[in-house]
Subunit: 160 residues, 2 copies
Protein backbone atom coordinates (compact mmCIF):
# COMPACT_ATOMS: atom_id res chain seq x y z
CA UNK A 1 0.00 0.00 0.00
CA UNK A 2 1.25 3.47 -0.88
CA UNK A 3 0.34 6.26 1.54
CA UNK A 4 -0.12 9.92 0.57
CA UNK A 5 2.18 10.75 3.47
CA UNK A 6 4.93 8.31 2.46
CA UNK A 7 8.44 9.60 1.85
CA UNK A 8 12.12 8.70 1.86
CA UNK A 9 14.33 10.22 4.54
CA UNK A 10 18.03 9.72 3.79
CA UNK A 11 20.35 10.18 6.79
CA UNK A 12 23.79 10.57 5.22
CA UNK A 13 27.31 10.62 6.70
CA UNK A 14 30.07 12.07 4.52
CA UNK A 15 33.66 11.66 5.70
CA UNK A 16 37.05 12.51 4.26
CA UNK A 17 35.58 15.64 2.67
CA UNK A 18 37.60 18.63 1.46
CA UNK A 19 37.72 20.80 4.61
CA UNK A 20 38.10 24.02 2.63
CA UNK A 21 34.78 23.33 0.94
CA UNK A 22 33.12 22.57 4.28
CA UNK A 23 34.14 25.99 5.65
CA UNK A 24 32.82 27.88 2.62
CA UNK A 25 29.18 28.84 3.12
CA UNK A 26 28.62 29.90 -0.50
CA UNK A 27 30.12 26.68 -1.79
CA UNK A 28 28.07 24.52 0.56
CA UNK A 29 24.87 26.44 -0.24
CA UNK A 30 25.37 26.21 -4.01
CA UNK A 31 26.15 22.51 -3.68
CA UNK A 32 22.90 21.78 -1.86
CA UNK A 33 20.83 23.90 -4.24
CA UNK A 34 22.29 22.09 -7.26
CA UNK A 35 21.90 18.78 -5.46
CA UNK A 36 18.16 19.12 -4.97
CA UNK A 37 17.83 20.06 -8.65
CA UNK A 38 19.46 16.72 -9.47
CA UNK A 39 16.87 15.11 -7.21
CA UNK A 40 14.08 16.80 -9.24
CA UNK A 41 12.84 18.47 -6.08
CA UNK A 42 11.32 21.96 -5.95
CA UNK A 43 13.14 24.57 -3.84
CA UNK A 44 10.96 26.88 -1.75
CA UNK A 45 13.56 28.70 0.33
CA UNK A 46 17.05 28.39 1.77
CA UNK A 47 18.65 29.39 5.04
CA UNK A 48 22.36 29.05 5.89
CA UNK A 49 24.54 29.98 8.86
CA UNK A 50 28.31 30.34 9.30
CA UNK A 51 29.65 29.17 12.65
CA UNK A 52 32.75 30.65 14.31
CA UNK A 53 35.55 29.63 14.08
CA UNK A 54 34.33 27.20 11.42
CA UNK A 55 31.43 25.06 10.27
CA UNK A 56 28.32 25.71 8.23
CA UNK A 57 24.70 24.71 8.80
CA UNK A 58 21.99 25.12 6.23
CA UNK A 59 18.55 23.94 5.26
CA UNK A 60 16.58 24.00 2.05
CA UNK A 61 12.82 23.92 2.41
CA UNK A 62 11.38 21.90 -0.49
CA UNK A 63 7.89 21.43 -1.84
CA UNK A 64 8.64 17.73 -1.15
CA UNK A 65 10.01 18.33 2.42
CA UNK A 66 13.64 19.40 3.11
CA UNK A 67 17.38 18.94 2.70
CA UNK A 68 19.89 19.92 5.41
CA UNK A 69 23.64 19.97 5.99
CA UNK A 70 25.85 20.49 9.04
CA UNK A 71 29.63 20.53 8.56
CA UNK A 72 32.64 19.88 10.81
CA UNK A 73 35.59 21.05 8.68
CA UNK A 74 38.10 20.08 11.37
CA UNK A 75 36.91 16.48 11.02
CA UNK A 76 36.32 16.50 7.25
CA UNK A 77 32.78 15.45 8.13
CA UNK A 78 29.35 16.56 6.93
CA UNK A 79 25.98 15.33 8.20
CA UNK A 80 23.22 15.52 5.60
CA UNK A 81 19.59 14.58 5.47
CA UNK A 82 17.34 14.58 2.43
CA UNK A 83 13.65 13.98 3.01
CA UNK A 84 11.39 13.86 -0.05
CA UNK A 85 7.84 12.75 -0.70
CA UNK A 86 6.50 11.76 -4.10
CA UNK A 87 7.60 9.30 -6.76
CA UNK A 88 9.08 12.00 -9.01
CA UNK A 89 12.04 12.74 -6.73
CA UNK A 90 15.40 10.98 -6.70
CA UNK A 91 17.01 11.86 -3.35
CA UNK A 92 19.90 9.46 -4.04
CA UNK A 93 20.93 11.73 -6.92
CA UNK A 94 21.21 14.68 -4.52
CA UNK A 95 23.23 12.50 -2.15
CA UNK A 96 25.59 11.47 -4.93
CA UNK A 97 26.04 15.01 -6.27
CA UNK A 98 26.69 16.56 -2.84
CA UNK A 99 29.17 13.81 -1.91
CA UNK A 100 31.10 14.33 -5.13
CA UNK A 101 31.21 18.13 -4.84
CA UNK A 102 32.44 17.96 -1.24
CA UNK A 103 34.97 15.31 -2.34
CA UNK A 104 33.78 12.81 0.27
CA UNK A 105 35.96 9.71 0.46
CA UNK A 106 33.28 7.73 2.28
CA UNK A 107 29.50 7.87 2.22
CA UNK A 108 27.31 5.98 4.67
CA UNK A 109 23.55 6.30 4.81
CA UNK A 110 20.35 4.89 6.18
CA UNK A 111 17.13 5.59 4.28
CA UNK A 112 13.99 5.56 6.38
CA UNK A 113 10.78 5.05 4.44
CA UNK A 114 8.35 6.95 6.65
CA UNK A 115 4.73 8.11 6.74
CA UNK A 116 3.45 4.51 6.62
CA UNK A 117 0.68 3.47 9.01
CA UNK A 118 0.40 -0.23 9.81
CA UNK A 119 -3.30 -0.90 10.47
CA UNK A 120 -2.75 -4.34 12.00
CA UNK A 121 -0.28 -2.92 14.51
CA UNK A 122 -2.28 0.32 14.87
CA UNK A 123 1.03 2.15 14.65
CA UNK A 124 3.33 3.86 12.24
CA UNK A 125 6.33 1.89 11.09
CA UNK A 126 9.74 2.72 9.63
CA UNK A 127 11.19 0.64 6.83
CA UNK A 128 14.97 1.03 6.66
CA UNK A 129 17.38 0.48 3.84
CA UNK A 130 21.06 1.21 4.18
CA UNK A 131 24.35 1.08 2.44
CA UNK A 132 27.88 2.35 2.56
CA UNK A 133 29.23 3.73 -0.68
CA UNK A 134 32.94 4.25 -1.17
CA UNK A 135 33.05 6.97 -3.78
CA UNK A 136 36.63 6.07 -4.60
CA UNK A 137 35.27 2.88 -6.11
CA UNK A 138 31.69 3.80 -6.94
CA UNK A 139 31.95 6.84 -9.16
CA UNK A 140 29.47 6.18 -11.94
CA UNK A 141 25.72 6.55 -12.07
CA UNK A 142 25.43 2.96 -13.25
CA UNK A 143 27.16 1.61 -10.17
CA UNK A 144 25.07 3.74 -7.86
CA UNK A 145 21.89 2.43 -9.47
CA UNK A 146 23.08 -1.14 -9.04
CA UNK A 147 23.84 -0.50 -5.42
CA UNK A 148 20.36 0.85 -4.78
CA UNK A 149 18.72 -2.13 -6.44
CA UNK A 150 20.60 -4.40 -4.08
CA UNK A 151 19.54 -2.36 -1.07
CA UNK A 152 15.89 -2.48 -1.95
CA UNK A 153 15.86 -6.26 -1.92
CA UNK A 154 16.55 -6.36 1.78
CA UNK A 155 14.54 -3.77 3.66
CA UNK A 156 14.62 -3.85 7.43
CA UNK A 157 11.22 -3.46 9.02
CA UNK A 158 11.22 -1.64 12.33
CA UNK A 159 7.94 -2.17 14.09
CA UNK A 160 6.69 -1.03 17.45
CA UNK B 1 34.10 6.35 22.44
CA UNK B 2 32.34 9.70 22.15
CA UNK B 3 32.89 11.60 18.89
CA UNK B 4 32.82 15.38 18.59
CA UNK B 5 30.48 14.88 15.63
CA UNK B 6 28.08 12.56 17.47
CA UNK B 7 24.41 13.48 17.69
CA UNK B 8 20.89 12.14 18.09
CA UNK B 9 18.56 12.35 15.10
CA UNK B 10 14.95 11.62 16.07
CA UNK B 11 12.66 10.72 13.14
CA UNK B 12 9.16 11.14 14.57
CA UNK B 13 5.70 10.21 13.22
CA UNK B 14 2.73 11.91 14.87
CA UNK B 15 -0.74 10.63 13.98
CA UNK B 16 -4.25 11.44 15.13
CA UNK B 17 -3.27 15.09 15.55
CA UNK B 18 -5.71 18.00 15.75
CA UNK B 19 -6.04 18.96 12.06
CA UNK B 20 -6.90 22.56 12.86
CA UNK B 21 -3.58 22.95 14.62
CA UNK B 22 -1.74 21.35 11.66
CA UNK B 23 -3.18 23.96 9.26
CA UNK B 24 -2.23 26.90 11.46
CA UNK B 25 1.27 28.14 10.58
CA UNK B 26 1.60 30.41 13.61
CA UNK B 27 0.51 27.62 15.96
CA UNK B 28 2.91 25.12 14.40
CA UNK B 29 5.78 27.61 14.44
CA UNK B 30 5.23 28.58 18.07
CA UNK B 31 4.98 24.92 19.02
CA UNK B 32 8.34 24.07 17.47
CA UNK B 33 10.04 27.13 18.97
CA UNK B 34 8.77 26.25 22.44
CA UNK B 35 9.65 22.60 21.83
CA UNK B 36 13.33 23.30 21.18
CA UNK B 37 13.43 25.44 24.32
CA UNK B 38 12.26 22.37 26.25
CA UNK B 39 15.11 20.47 24.58
CA UNK B 40 17.57 23.12 25.88
CA UNK B 41 18.65 23.79 22.30
CA UNK B 42 19.67 27.22 20.99
CA UNK B 43 17.57 28.70 18.17
CA UNK B 44 19.47 30.46 15.37
CA UNK B 45 16.68 31.09 12.88
CA UNK B 46 13.30 29.83 11.71
CA UNK B 47 11.66 29.46 8.32
CA UNK B 48 8.05 28.35 7.72
CA UNK B 49 5.83 27.92 4.67
CA UNK B 50 2.06 27.59 4.23
CA UNK B 51 0.97 25.19 1.48
CA UNK B 52 -2.25 25.58 -0.49
CA UNK B 53 -4.89 24.32 0.11
CA UNK B 54 -3.41 23.10 3.42
CA UNK B 55 -0.28 21.90 5.15
CA UNK B 56 2.67 23.62 6.78
CA UNK B 57 6.40 23.00 6.49
CA UNK B 58 8.96 24.62 8.71
CA UNK B 59 12.51 24.32 9.93
CA UNK B 60 14.38 25.71 12.90
CA UNK B 61 18.12 26.03 12.49
CA UNK B 62 19.75 25.32 15.85
CA UNK B 63 23.25 25.82 17.20
CA UNK B 64 23.03 22.05 17.82
CA UNK B 65 21.67 21.21 14.29
CA UNK B 66 17.95 21.48 13.36
CA UNK B 67 14.30 20.67 13.99
CA UNK B 68 11.75 20.34 11.18
CA UNK B 69 8.04 19.67 10.70
CA UNK B 70 5.86 18.83 7.70
CA UNK B 71 2.09 18.51 8.24
CA UNK B 72 -0.74 16.72 6.40
CA UNK B 73 -3.87 18.13 8.09
CA UNK B 74 -6.17 15.97 5.93
CA UNK B 75 -4.50 12.89 7.45
CA UNK B 76 -4.01 14.25 10.97
CA UNK B 77 -0.34 13.47 10.41
CA UNK B 78 2.87 15.38 11.09
CA UNK B 79 6.41 14.28 10.23
CA UNK B 80 9.05 15.72 12.54
CA UNK B 81 12.78 15.38 12.90
CA UNK B 82 14.93 16.69 15.70
CA UNK B 83 18.69 16.46 15.26
CA UNK B 84 20.85 17.67 18.13
CA UNK B 85 24.50 17.34 19.04
CA UNK B 86 25.89 17.75 22.52
CA UNK B 87 25.08 16.20 25.87
CA UNK B 88 23.20 19.26 27.14
CA UNK B 89 20.22 18.77 24.81
CA UNK B 90 17.13 16.68 25.45
CA UNK B 91 15.50 16.13 22.05
CA UNK B 92 12.96 13.73 23.56
CA UNK B 93 11.56 16.67 25.55
CA UNK B 94 10.93 18.59 22.31
CA UNK B 95 9.28 15.50 20.85
CA UNK B 96 7.01 15.12 23.86
CA UNK B 97 6.05 18.81 23.97
CA UNK B 98 5.28 19.02 20.24
CA UNK B 99 3.23 15.81 20.33
CA UNK B 100 1.17 17.08 23.24
CA UNK B 101 0.54 20.52 21.70
CA UNK B 102 -0.57 18.99 18.39
CA UNK B 103 -2.74 16.55 20.37
CA UNK B 104 -1.16 13.51 18.73
CA UNK B 105 -2.88 10.25 19.62
CA UNK B 106 0.08 8.15 18.52
CA UNK B 107 3.81 8.83 18.42
CA UNK B 108 6.29 6.55 16.69
CA UNK B 109 9.97 7.33 16.37
CA UNK B 110 13.38 6.00 15.48
CA UNK B 111 16.42 7.73 16.96
CA UNK B 112 19.59 7.43 14.92
CA UNK B 113 22.80 8.04 16.83
CA UNK B 114 24.99 9.42 14.05
CA UNK B 115 28.42 10.98 13.50
CA UNK B 116 30.18 7.83 14.79
CA UNK B 117 33.10 6.46 12.80
CA UNK B 118 33.94 2.78 13.29
CA UNK B 119 37.70 2.46 12.78
CA UNK B 120 37.67 -1.33 12.53
CA UNK B 121 35.08 -1.20 9.74
CA UNK B 122 36.61 1.95 8.26
CA UNK B 123 33.07 3.28 7.93
CA UNK B 124 30.51 5.37 9.71
CA UNK B 125 27.79 3.49 11.51
CA UNK B 126 24.27 4.27 12.69
CA UNK B 127 23.04 3.07 16.05
CA UNK B 128 19.27 2.96 16.16
CA UNK B 129 16.87 3.05 19.08
CA UNK B 130 13.14 3.10 18.57
CA UNK B 131 9.82 3.10 20.32
CA UNK B 132 6.16 3.77 19.86
CA UNK B 133 4.57 5.98 22.47
CA UNK B 134 0.83 6.13 22.88
CA UNK B 135 0.31 9.54 24.44
CA UNK B 136 -3.13 8.48 25.62
CA UNK B 137 -1.37 6.15 28.04
CA UNK B 138 2.04 7.80 28.41
CA UNK B 139 1.29 11.30 29.50
CA UNK B 140 3.79 11.95 32.26
CA UNK B 141 7.45 12.84 32.11
CA UNK B 142 8.26 9.94 34.43
CA UNK B 143 6.76 7.42 32.05
CA UNK B 144 8.58 8.93 29.08
CA UNK B 145 11.87 8.65 30.93
CA UNK B 146 11.19 5.03 31.77
CA UNK B 147 10.44 4.30 28.15
CA UNK B 148 13.71 5.82 27.02
CA UNK B 149 15.69 3.83 29.57
CA UNK B 150 14.20 0.66 28.18
CA UNK B 151 15.07 1.66 24.64
CA UNK B 152 18.68 2.39 25.44
CA UNK B 153 19.23 -1.14 26.70
CA UNK B 154 18.69 -2.60 23.27
CA UNK B 155 20.31 -0.49 20.58
CA UNK B 156 20.33 -1.82 17.06
CA UNK B 157 23.68 -1.48 15.37
CA UNK B 158 23.49 -0.89 11.63
CA UNK B 159 26.88 -1.50 10.05
CA UNK B 160 28.01 -1.38 6.46
Amino acid sequence: MIFSTQGNHFIVELSGCNSKHLTNLAFVENTLVEGVKKAKATLISQNFYQFSPQGVSGILLLAESHCSIHTWPEEGYAAIDIYTCGDHTMPEEACKYIAEKLQAQKVFFTNIIRGRFNESKNSHEHVLTRDSLDYMKLNTAQKIETSHKQINKQPVLVGS
